[in-house]
């Protein structure tokens, strides 16, 4: 983005006499606004629609399908409804902290978008500490949630807030530790550099580089789920236990800010996972002479990967798995994920020393392994369909189907 703004100044598009820092500031606000209102908020909203429709099919029902042709305007309707709701600030609540908490959570979430690489040219700021910045900013969410839990003056909210603080702070460790192998491999923290090291093909991704980065992906994914308060780690907002956890006392738009942050955070998880492990926006062709086409293809690739890994997979997990208990969550973090993350880190370092250029055979073996597991999984799905004695007339491969199953 900086190059773009410098280009604008050079071409004289900026009135004379305006200091450079003011131009940069203005550009940041404009680009930030475009990204937030044009991308982040719609993504968070549309993710709710996607989630509700997918969850509906998993539960043998249709999701929202009345507002708009396939229920697509449901999220807009929900947003408008929340705006129009009464804003209740409990009398005994700590009003300044109560009101500030959703904003801090949103800051922690929206701030990450400044460093996410949407394509080779579309990145707000290609920081040389990219991935470290992202990890640090997402940690702001803890502060916001703790504030929400405390300021609500509600014991249930307090429980939720404290649980969440414990959870997010604990899972920062394995998340960070599983980022380190990639940083070691790349030699840089910059997001674009990490992507540039990978290729477009699956076997050129960091995921299949060596078995340790393969495991690091799963450790990262689980830790990121925990940081995003998603089932099976949604204890802070455990609906059946704490009503809505730290967000119990929030109504209207304040509540919506919390949950937009949660759903949008899914995309951020996907984006980071894609950048680090899945080859980012790499496409097979160079397309230097068609920058627009290249930008579109790269954006589409990045979006598809980030959305699948970051949104669709967590939705699937959320509506399948039950919730973990607090002490089990801590056990899992400290006794399973952290040692595994350390093993990955040391293993990658050793691998880099032993095989500086990587081992193509291992890459191929890992790709074949994953393909085999995917086929085994599909076979198991077929087994379940046949075990439930379902025939062709009970099935529909149309995700938006409303045809009713025959009795």
């Amino acid at each position: 983005m900086q190059a773009f703004v410098d280009g604008l100044i050079a071409r004289g598009a900026v009135p004379a006499g305006v200091p450079v820092w003011a131009v940069y500031l203005g550009a940041m606000l404009v680009f930030g606004g475009i990204v937030v209102f044009g991308f982040v908020l719609p993504i968070a909203g549309i993710t709710t629609w996607v989630e509700r429709r997918i969850m509906g099919r998993m539960q043998s029902r249709i999701g929202p399908n009345r507002t708009g042709p396939i229920g697509f305007l449901q999220w807009l309707a929900d947003g408008i409804k929340n705006l129009l709701k009464e804003d209740i600030v409990p009398k005994a609540a700590d009003a300044p902290l109560f009101k500030l908490a959703p904003y801090i959570v949103m800051t922690g979430f929206v701030g990450t978008f400044a460093a996410l690489p949407f394509s080779s040219a579309l990145i707000v700021a290609d920081l040389n500490v990219g991935i470290l910045y992202v990890t640090a900013v997402t940690a702001l969410v803890v502060v916001g949630i703790l504030m929400a839990g405390w300021a609500s003056n509600n014991k249930w909210s307090l429980l939720g807030g404290v649980r969440s603080a414990a959870q997010i702070v604990s899972y920062e460790i394995p998340a960070g530790l599983s980022i380190f192998p990639i940083v070691l491999l790349t030699g840089s923290l910059s997001m674009q550099t990490i992507i540039a090291r990978q290729g477009w093909a699956p076997w050129a991704w960091n995921l299949f580089e060596n078995p340790f980065t393969f495991l690091a992906f799963f450790v990262f994914f689980i830790s990121a789920l925990a940081e995003g308060n998603r089932t099976p780690f949604d204890l802070p907002e455990a609906e059946s236990e704490l009503v809505a956890g730290f967000a119990t006392e929030y109504s209207g738009m304040r509540n919506l800010l919390f949950f937009m942050a949660e759903w949008g955070n899914l995309y951020v998880i996907g984006a980071i996972a894609t950048t680090l492990f899945l080859g980012g926006w790499r496409i097979p062709w160079a397309l230097d002479d068609a920058p627009v086409l290249r930008a579109v293809l790269e954006l589409a690739t990045f979006f598809a990967k980030a959305y699948t890994v970051g949104v669709l997979l967590p939705i699937w997990l959320r509506w399948t798995l039950p919730r973990i208990r607090v002490d089990q969550m801590m056990t899992m973090c400290w006794k399973y994920l952290v040692p595994l993350a350390f093993v990955n880190l040391l293993g990658t370092a050793a691998w880099m020393v032993a095989f500086p250029a990587g081992v193509p055979a291992v890459r191929a073996a890992l790709v074949v392994l994953v393909a085999g597991l995917a086929l085994a999984f599909l076979w198991r799905v077929r087994f379940h369909v046949r075990n439930a004695r379902l025939t062709r007339r009970h099935l529909s491969f149309n995700p938006l189907s409303t045809a009713r199953v025959p009795w």
Partner: protein, 185 residues
């Protein structure tokens, strides 16, 4: 915890979670079970018509075949039926001036429809009874005083009444009859 148990924990977790994911994935390709009621039903179908004949929905009284025997009023455990009938020699029998059922009290048990000799009071498949005021839930079936029905020993021949009577008798015949017949519970 030994290393074996540790690794077994991880393996169990992965395998059972993957199986669960396979079950939900298999559900993704199944048709949903939702009946899109009420505005996206297939053409010409009302859900009320698909309900079985025995369905205990809102009560309905066919005054054409009501004999004013007051069996339903006596049977109702919650006293939601109020009937007023007086003997009127001039009209030729009992004349009903009031037949009110308070649907707000009714618990849809069916105890009123069992002892009815003609099936005049019966449950219908109608279940949409929500309204804005409690008073509107009292259904007053007698608009003007009406003479009670006298069942004919040789069977009903009046074409206006026969179908109603047939339906009523069919409704009552669904109830269990003891071997000896007669005065059943």
């Amino acid at each position: 915890m030994g290393l074996g148990a540790y690794l077994r924990n991880i393996k169990d977790a992965v395998v059972t979670i993957a199986d669960g994911l396979a079950v939900t994935a298999s559900h993704m390709i199944r048709k949903p079970y939702t009946v899109e009621y009420p505005d996206r039903l297939p053409e010409g179908i009302r859900v009320q018509d698909t309900l079985p004949f025995r369905y205990r929905g809102m009560l309905e009284v066919d005054l054409e075949i009501c004999t004013a025997c007051l069996a339903c009023e006596r049977a109702c455990p919650i006293d939601c039926i109020v009937i007023e009938a007086t003997k009127d020699k001039a009209a030729g029998g009992l004349v009903m001036t009031r037949f009110d059922i308070d649907m707000a009290k009714c618990m849809y048990c069916g105890l009123c429809s069992e002892p009815c000799p003609t099936g005049a009071i019966h449950h219908t498949p109608e279940f949409e009874g929500a309204d804005y005021s409690l008073e509107s839930l009292v259904r007053r079936f007698v608009k003007a005083p009406v003479v009670a029905y006298k069942p004919k020993k040789t069977g009903e021949v009046d074409p206006a009444i026969k179908p109603i009577l047939d339906r009523g008798l069919r409704y009552v015949s669904e109830f269990a009859k003891s071997e000896a017949g007669g005065d059943d519970a």
